[in-house]
């Protein structure tokens, strides 16, 4: 009798474990399908709302100091009108040469972290979107603006900002770009480093000069073993910093890429 009971329990356990395996595998499969679907979504966005000529132009402009200063507005490669018709939360576009970062930037009016797991069309998506939070203005006029993006295993979203961990890549890629509906903002990369998981905008009051000054100092001398820094970039209390934040590959920390605004051009 005892033997029969033991046999029944073992069979029950096997069935339970089998169900768990099926459930977990199902989860992984659903997630992978979501990733494929998300990749397709952003590929479509890049094809539909970015003009090819201008997109490649962004890649080729490497030294803002050498661009023609005729005063004519530069081209805006992003079709913000149609993109915003799809989702009014889209307010800018980020472009980092030689990475996979060519994405719209969003900010939700309802939930600061809505785009952590929703794509540009507001559909649930594991990779989410590149986004900022409501404590940042959408015109990049804050002293420190923070953009968040997932560190995806497939290299999408902000995963490839890790390329700045390579000293040579960091050296060869001094600029990245942000487009708004009527402006092109050029940022010079100041530093890339591991940081802790503090919520930057909730932890520092950058309206205080001393706090902001300390942040700028730390940006050029981060407490990180794996940092790359451009020490010759001049930072002062008028600097407009843009921080790109993603999770580290292990542990609870964050990887930050910081740039300072060096050029603000009108676009047509």
């Amino acid at each position: 009798m005892k033997q029969e009971q033991k046999r029944k329990l073992l069979i029950t356990l096997i069935v339970v474990f089998a169900l768990v395996i099926i459930g977990a595998v199902g989860y992984v499969v659903i997630k992978q399908l979501g990733l494929f679907s998300s990749e397709e979504t952003y590929r479509e966005v890049q094809q539909s709302y970015v003009t090819t000529a201008a997109a490649t132009a962004a890649e080729t402009i490497t030294d803002p100091a050498n661009t023609d200063e005729t005063g004519f507005p530069v081209n805006n490669p992003i079709d913000f009108e149609n993109l915003r018709a799809q989702n009014p939360d889209v307010y800018s576009w980020i472009d980092i040469p030689d990475t996979n970062v060519h994405y719209p930037v969003l900010q939700s009016t309802e939930d600061d972290n809505f785009y952590l797991d929703h794509d540009v069309y507001k559909n649930y998506s594991f990779p989410g979107a590149i986004y900022s939070q409501s404590m940042n203005k959408k015109d990049y006029s804050d002293r420190v603006t923070v953009l968040y993006g997932h560190n995806m295993l497939n290299g999408s979203m902000f995963a490839t900002i890790y390329r700045f961990a390579d000293a040579q890549f960091f050296e060869e890629h001094p600029y990245f770009y942000v487009y708004t509906a009527d402006r092109k903002l050029t940022y010079e990369v100041v530093s890339a480093f591991d940081y802790d998981d503090r919520h930057i905008l909730n932890s520092f009051n950058f309206n205080e000069d001393s706090v902001f000054s300390d942040w700028l100092t730390a940006a050029q001398s981060p407490h990180s073993l794996y940092s790359n820094v451009r020490t010759d970039v001049k930072l002062d209390l008028n600097s407009k910093m843009l921080v790109l934040s993603t999770c580290t590959n292990s542990g609870d920390g964050r990887y930050l890429l910081q740039g300072v605004l060096i050029k603000d051009e009108q676009t047509r």
Binding site: L13, I30, H150, H199
Partner: protein, 87 residues
């Protein structure tokens, strides 16, 4: 032994409930959706947390569940075969 089975089932259900694809609060293909109400008031939900949004892509829990279940299934199967041989 019955208690063990109950505990295993409870732990599995709790573990699954933490996986976002199975959580009912998200708009996943397998999630339940809230009925739309008319004249909804938008209440802003600011992030006042001290921790930065978690932007990792970890599947550790799902893979751990698979690994633990495969091991558990194997051990139970071996025990079952052994007990059958005894008989």
């Amino acid at each position: 032994m019955k208690k063990l089975v109950t505990i295993v089932i409870a732990v599995m259900i709790m573990a699954f409930s933490t996986l976002s694809a199975f959580a009912v609060s998200v708009d996943s293909p397998v999630a339940t959706t809230q009925p739309e109400t008319q004249a909804t008031t938008v209440v802003p939900k600011p992030d006042s947390g001290k921790t930065s949004p978690k932007t990792g892509s970890s599947d550790v829990l799902a893979y751990s569940l698979i690994a633990v279940s495969v091991i558990g299934c194997g051990v139970a199967s071996v025990a079952l075969v052994k007990s059958a041989k005894k008989n």
